[in-house]
């Protein structure tokens, strides 16, 4: 039986070395580039007619656009709309990576902790910088819970800061673990199909169901990542 973790192996397609750093073009890089290209291509293809009454693809593009726009408006407020393009890019890029990954044989770059952590760190640093940029040092008052008794502040502030700093970790681990667990499970059951002979129909059926489930997870995790980003954005803009 094949190793269910082999699918996460990084394969170097084009070795690139810049100084000491190995920036090789890998299977992960390939699907990142394909995802980015697919998102851009679909949006451009869908809107090429500028139709007043949208066709199927244009509807998909418009629905996605409005879905993300509503998400930002509802969770980060009107002022958050300034960062809509970043949130849209984040959502569509993760969604495309997750969904393409469900297709057998395609590498899922969001199943690597370093990818999700880099994305989460980008969100975290960007949002924190935005908070300081908008509010200056007053942004630090964000860590003092409103209405807390004065005596409790020395205890509460470190907790608040700690929970704030854990945001990128929970954000990245949630996405990475979900993608990795789903794909590992698919592979484990796939391994049983041949091994069980005729009775392999059972794990095959499980895999069919799991694949449907994974499509849901692919969307849901992209959605959760985006919603949390919007909520962090809200904190940075409005503080509480």
């Amino acid at each position: 039986m094949a190793d269910p973790l082999a699918q996460f192996e990084i394969e170097r397609y084009v070795p690139i070395l810049v100084g000491n750093a190995d920036l090789s073009f890998t299977n992960s890089s390939l699907w990142m580039v394909v995802s980015a290209g697919a998102v851009y291509g679909l949006v451009m293809l869908g809107t090429r007619h500028h139709a007043m009454v949208p066709g199927r693809l244009q509807s998909v593009v418009e629905l996605t656009y409005e879905f993300v726009a509503d998400l930002v408006r509802e969770n980060a407020g009107k002022e958050g709309m300034a960062y809509f393009p970043a949130v849209f890019t984040l959502f569509t890029f993760i969604l495309m990576g997750n969904s393409l990954g469900v297709i057998p044989g395609i590498f899922t770059f969001t199943s690597h902790i370093i990818v999700t952590f880099t994305l989460a760190m980008g969100v975290f640093l960007g949002v924190t910088a935005l908070g300081f940029w908008l509010h200056g040092w007053r942004f630090l008052s964000f860590f003092v819970p409103p209405g807390a008794p004065k005596l409790m502040i020395p205890v509460l502030v470190p907790i608040e800061i700690l929970s704030y700093c854990f945001r990128p970790i929970s954000l990245s681990i949630r996405l990475f673990v979900n993608m990795m667990a789903g794909h590992t499970m698919l592979k484990v059951f796939a391994g049983f199909i041949i091994a069980l002979g005729v009775f392999g129909v059972a794990p095959l059926a499980v895999n069919v169901a799991l694949t449907a489930f994974e499509i849901g997870v692919a969307f849901l995790q992209a959605y959760i990542f985006t919603v949390l980003t919007c909520i962090y954005l809200h904190d940075a803009i409005h503080m509480h």
């Binding site: 990084i10 170097r12 990142m32 690597h112």
Partner: protein
């Protein structure tokens, strides 16, 4: 874009340091591929590159195009609703004007009818009165004429009687009497 690229560069340098530090730990193998630090620089680099390029392309071209389409539709719907409201207002105005016109016409028709009725009634009364007067006149005239005729007839009857008396006296008695005597005799008999 420049800022993003420089951030990407910074990340690449950081990742390269990390990779160099973990260089000797790479040899272990067989572990979770996700924990293979040697792949991190490449993943971080390509992630930031593809994300940045996608962000740039979406911001510059794709998203404005979608926004433009949605806005155009929104404008079109708003314009249509506007026009519908204007047309409706116009229709209501027309209806109001039409109703006013009908009311005015009805009022005019009523007054016309009223005056016509009055005129007909007065004319009728006038004619009736004239007719009555004429009939009355004719009746009186006729009565007068009858009375005159009667008087004349009465006057003539004496003369005829006198003539008759004269003629009768001549034939029967061969008496020649004057018309004067005959008249006196008739008057004497008529007087009895």
């Amino acid at each position: 874009m420049g800022k993003l690229l420089s951030t990407a560069g910074l990340f690449a340098v950081f990742a390269a340091r990390l990779a160099a530090a973990a260089g000797d730990a790479e040899a272990e193998g067989g572990g979770l591929p996700q924990l293979d630090v040697s792949t991190y620089p490449s993943q971080i680099f390509w992630l930031i590159l593809s994300f940045a390029v996608l962000y740039y392309l979406l911001t510059r071209k794709a998203l404005p195009r979608v926004a433009e389409i949605l806005e155009a539709r929104q404008d079109r719907i708003a314009a249509d609703l506007d026009r519908a409201a204007r047309l409706r207002q116009e229709a209501e105005d027309t209806l109001r004007r039409y109703n006013a016109m009908i009311e005015e016409a009805q009022a005019r028709a009523r007054t016309l009818l009223h005056t016509a009725q009055e005129r007909i009634a007065s004319e009728f009364a006038e004619r009736q009165a004239a007719l009555e007067k004429e009939l009355h006149d004719r009746i009186r005239e006729a009565e007068e004429r009858i009375a005159a005729a009667r008087e004349k007839a009465l006057a003539e009857i004496d003369e005829v009687a006198a003539e008759l008396v004269q003629a009768a006296a001549q034939r029967l008695a061969s008496l020649k009497i004057t018309r004067k005597d005959a008249r006196a005799a008739v008057a004497r008999v008529a007087g009895e």
